[in-house]
Symmetry: C2
Subunit: 198 residues, 2 copies
C-alpha cells in the first residue's frame, strides 16, 4: 500500500520536528572552550565531521557514508531517555539493561513517526550501531568515544574532573573501545591524554 | 610528499577542535519549542537529518551522501564571519559581495588547517555548495532554506516576527530557492506557511 504523498511528507516532517528536541538534551562533557555543556544535536554533527575527516583512519572495508548516517541517528533515543554519561554511577549506568530497554522503546516511538519503510531502515541502522558488531558500527562507536576525550583535553579535564576518573578507568571504559575500531587513533590520543592523569 | 602520520593526525584534530566553535555561532531562528536561538552546529546536524529523511524528494541524479557531506561543512565559515540571517538588513546582507569575500577568506583559513589533500577536497565541496549550480548543491540549498521555515512554523513565527517579513518577501527570499531544488517540498510547506501571513 502506497501512502499518499501528502501523508508521507506529514510523517517525515513530524519526525524532523520531533528530532529538534535532541538539541535540548545536555551531555556531561563541555564545549572545547569549557563555556557550557554540549548538547546531543551538535555532538552528532561534530561526530559526522569526525567521520569525514578521520575516514583515512578507518579499517579497510568501512563505508564512511554509512558511518556518517549512523552517527547522525545514533543519539535520537536520548530525546526520551536523556544522555547517560559513560563515567556516571562509577561507570555502571551506561549500557545497563534498564537503559538499553528504555532506549529500545524510545527507538520504537521516535523512528515510528516516519513512514514505515524509513522507520524500518533507520531503526535497522540504529540497531546495527548499538550492536557494535559490523565494521561500520565499530568504527562509529570508536569516534563516539574519541570525541569527548578531545573535548576534555581542550577544555581542561571536563568530565574526568566531574567524575574523578582514573587513568585505568579511562583505558577500560573509553580507550579499549576507541582501540577496537581505530587503534592508531587511540595510540595517538593516549599520548596526549596520559600526562593529564599525572 | 607524504606527511608523516603523526603530523597528519595533529592537523586533523586541530581542524576538528576549531570546528567546535561552530556550536557557539547563534542563528536568528529559534528551536521548535522557541526556548532559545539555534546554533549553527546543531543546525548543520538537523540539515543532514533532513537530507536523509527527504532523500525521496530529491530530483533524479542527486547523490544524497554528497548532499549530507556538503551540509555538514556548509556553515563552518561562520566561525569567522557569523551567521548572516536571510531576512536581516531587509534581505540585502545575506550573499552580499562583502560577506561572500569574508566567507571565502574564512574557508581558506579553516579548511587550511587540514592536511593539503583534505583541505582541497573540503574546500571544493564548500565552493560547490556556495555556487549552487550542481544538482547536489541546489538540493542542499533547498533544505537549508526549508528547515528555518519549519522551525518558524513550530515556534510561533520566529524570524518572520523578528524581521517583519511579508508573504511576498518569504516567497522571493525563501520559497523560490526551496522550489528550485525541491518543488514538491515548497508546494507542501507553502500551504502550511501561507495562513500564518494572514
Amino acid at each position: 500500500m502506497t501512502i499518499p504523498d501528502g501523508e508521507r511528507l506529514a510523517r517525515q516532517f513530524a519526525f524532523l520536528t520531533e528530532a529538534d528536541r535532541l538539541k535540548s538534551v545536555l551531555r556531561a562533557n563541555l564545549l572545547c572552550d569549557a563555556s557550557r555543556q554540549e548538547n546531543s544535536g551538535e555532538h552528532s554533527w561534530h561526530l559526522a565531521l569526525y567521520a569525514m575527516v578521520l575516514a583515512d583512519q578507518a579499517p579497510e572495508g568501512v563505508r564512511i557514508d554509512r558511518v556518517i548516517r549512523m552517527l547522525i541517528l545514533h543519539d535520537l533515543v536520548e530525546i526520551d531517555v536523556g544522555d547517560v554519561p559513560i563515567h556516571s554511577a562509577n561507570g555502571t549506568a551506561h549500557g545497563s539493561p534498564d537503559i538499553c530497554a528504555a532506549e529500545a522503546k524510545a527507538a520504537e516511538r521516535i523512528f515510528g513517526l516516519l513512514p514505515g519503510d524509513q522507520a524500518s531502515a533507520f531503526r535497522a541502522l540504529w540497531d546495527e550501531f548499538e550492536a557494535a558488531e559490523t565494521p561500520d558500527a565499530v568504527f562509529a562507536k570508536s569516534l563516539d568515544r574519541l570525541q569527548p576525550v578531545m573535548q576534555n583535553l581542550a577544555g581542561g579535564g571536563g568530565t574526568w574532573t566531574t567524575y574523578g576518573v582514573t587513568w585505568a578507568q579511562l583505558e577500560a571504559r573509553v580507550g579499549a573501545k576507541i582501540a577496537r575500531g581505530a587503534p592508531r587513533l587511540w595510540d595517538w590520543v593516549k599520548e596526549k591524554a596520559r600526562p593529564w592523569f599525572g
